[in-house]
Symmetry: C2
Subunit: 114 residues, 2 copies
Amino acid sequence: MPDSLRRFKADIFQALAHPTRIAIIELLDDGELSAGELIDKLGMEQANISQHLAVLRGKQLVANRKAGNQVFYSVRDPIILKVLALMRRYFQKHLKEALEMLDEMDKASAGTGQ
Amino acid sequence: MPDSLRRFKADIFQALAHPTRIAIIELLDDGELSAGELIDKLGMEQANISQHLAVLRGKQLVANRKAGNQVFYSVRDPIILKVLALMRRYFQKHLKEALEMLDEMDKASAGTGQ
DNA sequence: TAGGAATATTCGATCCTTCGAATATTGTGC
DNA sequence: GCACAATATTCGAAGGATCGAATATTCCTA
């Protein structure tokens, strides 16, 4: 497989590699939402969410539909939702080691005072 | 869903978000390989592959088995292979726009001389 | 037990990502 | 047109990722 195709896949994983963007896609799992609704539900800065939406748009993971003043977002391909569903299964299966990993992370950041 | 769980998922996507690491996992799809075999097949620096393997190990995506001088790697959970298989389907489905994206990237980097 | 093969780690330079603050854009109703 | 609401973009600082060079570790074999 040529490297360009691997770069394409890696870019999609990169787009998914942020907790906020995962949260956005999971919220869109139930149907489309406006940018404002996403901001409300996530309780984060407007600019920040808009930037994350720009990343998802850039990689074509979400579609956007303008309706007057607002922009409604939705997941473009259910395959992406399947990927996240698989990850949920993976998480449940590896819950124990995941908690250990998170614990390590906490300890590491506690040690450095971060 | 608590943010810590999203961070866990994001970390796994992050670990997959590099063409070389995707190549490694795809090579391991057929069964375990030693670090040296991976280096040969990928034709990259030894240190570089070892670093990427360290990332995959750190996120528990691969298992390693020492046999004398060598270390054999394998994918720890077939769910990860399923994720990559889904991504292959996704890629085929979106081949056209993927090529456009890659083209954009080429043009952009040509423009800046990178 | 010295030398070499296989693998891992450290280091430092460079680039990429993320964030909030500030600002720009676009659409609506008066 | 003007003010306002919703969303997007730009900017700069701070932290994280990636690479090759150099070095360290581990294990085998003579």
